[in-house]
Amino acid sequence: MAVATAPTRGMTKTEKRNQLMGLLFISPWLIGFLLFALFPLIASLYYSMTNYDFIRDPQFIGLANYVRLFTTDPDFWTVMYNTIYYVGFGVPLGIAVAFLIANLLNSEIKGRTLFRSVIYIPSIVPAVCTAMVWLFILNVQYGAINGILKTIGWQTIPFLSSPELAKPSLIMIYVWAQGTAVVIFLAALQDVPRSLYDAALVDGANAWARFWNVTVPMCTPVILFNFIMGIIAAFQDFTLPFVLTGGGPMKSTEFYVVNLYRNAFVQFSIGKASAMAWILFLIILLFSVILFRTSARWVYYGGEK
């Protein structure tokens, strides 16, 4: 059977003009992407294989920076542990709390709009301000909570100044600032068909059964989305630990990106910092792939057969 092929012809003047216009319109993004995203990305991969300090020309050293990070670097495994601890506890807890709050805000309660706004406020407050506010709440010497404890003659709690408590305290603040996830969950909850709840009621499902068997499955695509976004953001968290604790006490809150910054701008080790950036990229990629690969088992898409 003969295959019909479209006759080839050159572009008309109008088509060429349209193509040029199209390219012109996307050129700001294209140039920006090439210059400020793709080029730095490729450059950082090259720098990660060099001994580079911002000043002298980079010297190619192959994978030595990577080997050094995994074998002899004094901080790498500490900051890796800190970060995985933070992500591992913070992100699931943040998702769970955000989902529960969204469910509460989705119910018919008085002042629902006000509560929604209040819950979202932490997400639009700059992280530095958030950090300062929590410092005034949690500080062992002058914090509000410890002020009350002091007044009643109790021993203060070193939320941010004890190596044991500093990470959990930062996780608590992370969980507090889940307003964006709450808003996204709210949108998802309002998309759950009413008919499913009605059918569940007819089947005699109580509130918990309706939540577990209708609400949760219908929201799993959004849970997956929030999970991935949460992991990406938490792995790269910088402002909160940097402003609140400066990575201390005893490097207990020295997270990955804080240490990367220190390597680059304090210790002049741009090559090593670039290697750290690529390792972080691979870690985030790995987590994302695992989540996507396992999502078939727990994410329900209504349109799927």
């Binding site: 062992v140 002091k150 070193p158 609140l244 005893m250 490097k251 002049f268 090593k272």
Partner: protein
């Protein structure tokens, strides 16, 4: 239908064109200087061959008032020959490194990692310029300061702005007297200072820290130079590139200094430092929370300018040493300089600025506005050493010093400080033996030295 309005396509085309024009205009170089032009430059076009501006960045946050006054003086305007000075304070090392990497550093800079930048070739050797200068006089600058401007024969920058005697124990004698201490003689050995620390450390009934004596790692004591010198160790030999951080005396020092924190409580201490107003260099002393601090010649003047009610009780004396070295009067000095960047557009202009910082006009303004001193011998004789409480010690100390240290000479000084901070905390939290911490510090420093290609 009448269709004489603009189409969507036309609107987009015009919009794109307008945006393009605006973007081009935004990319054009600014015509207005950031600071007032110097005399002679007003209305005059800059010569095309010689840049008529000098860009100067510094990391200090409190030099600005002095700079504002300096550029207004006729002497400065005449010295700079009509050049406009564009200065930027609080410009930290991050922004400087980024500018260096981009090939657009300022012409001159101060208060950065001088040796680090110089050994990596970011700043130029100014020896030839200094030799040719009629303003810069080597024999009029204190020997230690002049020597600190050199590294392996090269001259790092023009010594200037401030630099004098770095180490003294500064005590709030009002707090000491309230703690029942005899302030006739200030403590000299670590044992004595520890007793003062105990007396001045106050906690409430529940054990919460209210005030304390000395943070042995605050301000100048934060750097390994200090602990090493106090215990008579030279931790880095710049000629050989060898480290001596595993020296048992360093371990002894880590243990002794750690005791100060143990008494106050490590968690309490860390919490106190996290608070705005107590966290930055010297802030807890000004706040009256900390009553002893290791600082230098700038301390009396800065405290007077920033917190006169505390400064009135300030008294200064020798930095502490262990009991077996009680006769050692240790002191450090080092470099603050105007360094000139390799890619500077106006190297001569930056050098002239460095020269001007040697003049009595600039030195007087800086002394009065910021409280700093620079070791220019002819000018030091004019300084009123009683202007700021505690200053007399620093002015008079020189001849009595028995051991001098030239500070911050290691090209990986910042790395060592980062590691030192972590390991000493492990010691005072009793998580690591002092000698093990010293050994680990040595190991990390050597590994970094090699890894940075400096070995």
């Amino acid at each position: 239908m009448n269709n004489n309005g603009i189409s969507r396509r036309q609107f987009l085309q015009w919009g794109a064109m307008t945006a393009g024009v605006v973007a081009l205009a935004a990319c054009a170089p600014s015509g207005a200087p950031a600071s007032a032009p110097a005399a002679g430059s007003e209305g005059a076009a800059a010569p095309a061959a010689a840049p008529n501006t000098v860009q100067y960045w510094y990391a200090w946050g409190n030099l600005d008032p002095a700079m504002a006054k300096i550029i207004e003086t006729e002497e400065f305007k005449a010295h700079m020959g009509g050049a406009t000075l564009e200065y930027k304070g609080s410009a930290n090392q991050d922004s400087l490194l980024t500018a260096i990497a981009a090939g657009t550093p300022p012409d001159g800079g101060s208060n950065y990692s001088y040796v680090n930048l110089f050994t990596r070739g970011a700043t130029i050797d100014v020896k030839d310029m200094a030799d040719a200068s009629t303003v810069l006089k080597a024999d009029d600058i204190l020997e230690g300061i002049w020597n600190s401007a050199f590294y392996k024969g090269g001259m790092i920058g023009v010594p200037g702005i401030e630099c004098f005697n770095w180490w003294g124990l500064n005590v709030n004698i009002d707090a000491a007297e309230k703690a029942g201490l005899d302030t006739t003689t200030l403590p000299k050995t670590w044992d004595e200072v520890l007793e003062w620390h105990k007396a001045m450390t106050k906690k409430d009934d529940a054990g919460n820290l209210l005030q304390f004596g000395l943070d042995p790692y605050d301000a100048m004591a934060n750097e390994p130079d200090f602990l090493a010198a106090s215990y008579g160790v030279k931790w880095f030999d710049e000629e050989t590139g060898k480290f001596d951080l595993a020296n048992p005396r360093i371990a002894e020092g880590l243990d002794t200094l750690g005791e100060f924190i143990r008494i106050a409580g490590p968690d309490q201490f860390a919490g106190m430092r996290q608070v705005e107003g107590n966290g930055t260099w010297g802030a807890a002393y000004n706040a009256g929370v900390q009553n002893m601090i290791m600082e230098g010649y700038w301390h009396p003047g800065e405290t007077q300018i920033q917190k006169p009610e505390i400064a009135q009780f300030n008294r200064s004396s020798w930095a502490p040493v262990p009991a077996d070295r009680k006769d050692a009067n240790i002191m450090a000095t080092g470099l603050h300089a105007v360094v000139i960047f390799k890619d500077a557009k106006n190297k001569e202009g930056a050098f002239k600025l460095g020269e001007f910082f040697q003049t009595p006009t600039a030195l007087d303004i800086i002394f009065n506005e910021v409280g700093w001193i620079h070791g220019v011998k002819s000018w030091l004789t004019t300084v009123d050493k009683n202007k700021y409480p505690g200053l007399a010690f620093y002015v008079d100390a020189g001849p009595q010093v028995t051991e001098w240290t030239i500070g911050r000479r290691c090209p990986i000084n910042d790395f060592v400080i980062t590691q030192y901070t972590e390991l000493r905390e492990q010691v005072y939290r009793n998580l690591m033996e002092p000698q093990a911490a010293a050994d680990e510090l040595q190991k990390r420093a050597e590994a970094e030295w090699q890894a940075q290609g400096l070995g």
